[in-house]
Symmetry: C2
Subunit: 347 residues, 2 copies
């Protein structure tokens, strides 16, 4: 059996290249225990990579290095990469995947740049209008919910949202192993007929589909964990995602300011912190192994800029799962079936 080859943008994250390489080392051990032959292709500045490798225990890891002269920063305009940063690790890594030198691409870099570069270089799966990126949020039920789209598409056309639901459902089922993923449509009321014109039309598409559609869910329902996938346009999803991330910051700030009020307050906070940290562990995006870019002809996993080695490890494991489960074949076939059934009602 040929090894599975994964290109890693080792210049992408905030702690690049160290966290990327350490994550690959951690993943190597897990893959070895699973008797999987995985080969990493580190894409980035060769000199920096070699320097980083010096002090690490890499004897069990199969890897090669592909030099890339340039770096895409978090501030770079996503669309400019295609014109001006063809020598970047991000571009070259996706290019390796586009010409099938590797089977997957993983990056903790500029999400928008990965999205636009991958969409152009890899192309879309047949039947997909717009690729989408989701995010996992912790829930009261203990099972994360996949919210999508979170910023790839700010236009909420019913057809787009409908496709997001199909892709999210397939991902949840085949990769996360959820039997019949429950799909919710993010809205401002539970009743059918609520919401904008786009949302009302999307409701009808979902209702008439073969998906396990639960109907509208409100902002307060997302974190209950009653849905496996919550669908929205990228404008709403991006705002909710960034708002959610900032809640933890607000809590931390309030705790810090409480501790500054005096000796006893500081003591109380010190006593409380270990328990609170334990409780908040679930809120940590690192656990979820990045998010997939769904709808492109390839396997692309995107991580948070602050990804730890553990987060990178989980992204690499996820990449192998997505590759092995061939979810793109399922997406193409599901969209083909839906197009045949619904050719008259879809915008």
């Amino acid at each position: 059996m040929n090894p599975i080859r994964i290109a890693i943008d080792v210049m992408g994250g905030d702690f690049a290249p160290l966290n990327e390489i350490k994550g690959a080392i951690l993943a190597s051990k897990i893959f070895r225990d699973q008797s999987l032959t995985i080969e990493f292709v580190f894409v980035g500045k060769e000199q920096i990579i070699k320097e980083a490798l010096k002090n690490l225990d890499i004897k069990d890891m199969k890897f090669s290095v592909v030099h890339a002269d340039d770096i895409v920063s978090m501030d770079d305009d996503p669309t400019s990469v295609l014109k001006r940063k063809k020598q970047s690790s991000l571009f070259k890594g996706i290019e390796l995947h586009a010409n099938r030198s590797v089977d997957a691409f993983v990056s903790a870099g500029n999400t928008g740049a990965v999205l636009s570069t991958a969409t152009i270089l890899l192309g879309r799966i047949k039947g997909v209008s717009r690729p989408t990126i989701g995010t996992f949020l912790p829930t009261q039920s203990g099972k994360p919910v996949l919210l999508l789209d979170v910023g790839a598409n700010i236009e909420g056309r019913p057809r787009f949202l409908y496709e997001f639901a199909i892709m999210g459902s397939i991902y949840s089922k085949q990769v996360l192993g959820i039997d019949s993923p429950k799909i919710g449509l993010l809205n401002i009321g539970e009743e059918e007929g609520k919401g904008t014109e786009n949302i009302i039309q999307t409701f009808q598409l979902l209702k008439n589909s073969t998906l396990n559609f639960q109907g509208n869910v409100e902002g307060r329902d997302v974190l209950l964990g009653t849905s496996d996938v919550v669908v929205c346009d990228g404008f709403v999803g991006n705002i909710v995602l960034k708002f959610a991330e900032s809640m933890l910051g607000l809590l931390k700030a309030k705790i810090a300011s409480h501790a500054q009020k005096g000796f006893f307050q500081k003591l109380a906070v010190m006593i409380m912190l270990p328990t609170l940290k334990h409780i908040l562990k679930d809120f940590d995006y690192q656990e979820y192994g990045g998010v997939p870019l769904l709808g492109v002809n390839g396997v692309v996993i995107i991580g948070h800029g602050k990804s730890s080695p553990l987060a990178i490890q989980n992204m690499l494991i996820r990449a192998v799962e997505v590759y092995n489960k061939k979810i793109n074949v399922s997406i193409e076939s599901a969209l083909q079936i839906s197009a045949e059934h619904n050719s008259n009602d879809i915008n």
Copy 2:
């Protein structure tokens, strides 16, 4: 000087009529200390109100009772009140305000029903396209931010959002005493030109206005407290508000499930809770004294269904402030000026 008269929908909240009446008693003491003559009109089922008054110390409170036979529940369709619930405390209270028997109306009942009934019975301020309801959220800076709209208008036309900004700015300045309120436009990126077509056009209207417009703010910025007012359409705002409210529920659920893991975990949670409760006090909507319905010809303050007596007290204080500051006159004049200046660019 004539007394200021406030109608209270005493059947509105989840703990009606007791919390409404207790809140009025608390407010009476404060008004007396401020040498303000305030008279309450309790609107609701006379028998129930009289029963509730029996065990309370009401000797310092000036009030009367207006009987209303019917009750609007939280589940009632907002628009149906105008047709089928004209005998309700909600309708009758607003009607008293519409015919100027009272100077303000306060309710912790069905928000949508208050919105639609007040809009029809009181009418809109000249120049206002759509009345709006906002919410206050706690921030890292310690000062709450006013997010609006949070559900009154799901349509995000530039003209609507622009008017929300003007009304929010006037409210922040005249009622909250913020000198030059900073206005942010909720968006998915900071750069000019980001977002939907509606948002891009709204940006231009705000940029060319005399408001203290700070530009786009992202989901992560709302809780930082860098803006005094954050403007969005009611679809996005409602989802963010309900999502925010649910975060606390998620935290509580995680803490409870941690406590169930064993003796030491339970002990740790018990030790931590008083401090945490103290820290989370700021997250409590009760503190903010309800939210105003802005843009109607009148003074309408809406509270959370779960409003405590303290929350009702604060809503009554707020109602008097809004009445005394005559913000509706300022809103009318600001919109008139803006219409003269921008008559060509506004949609």
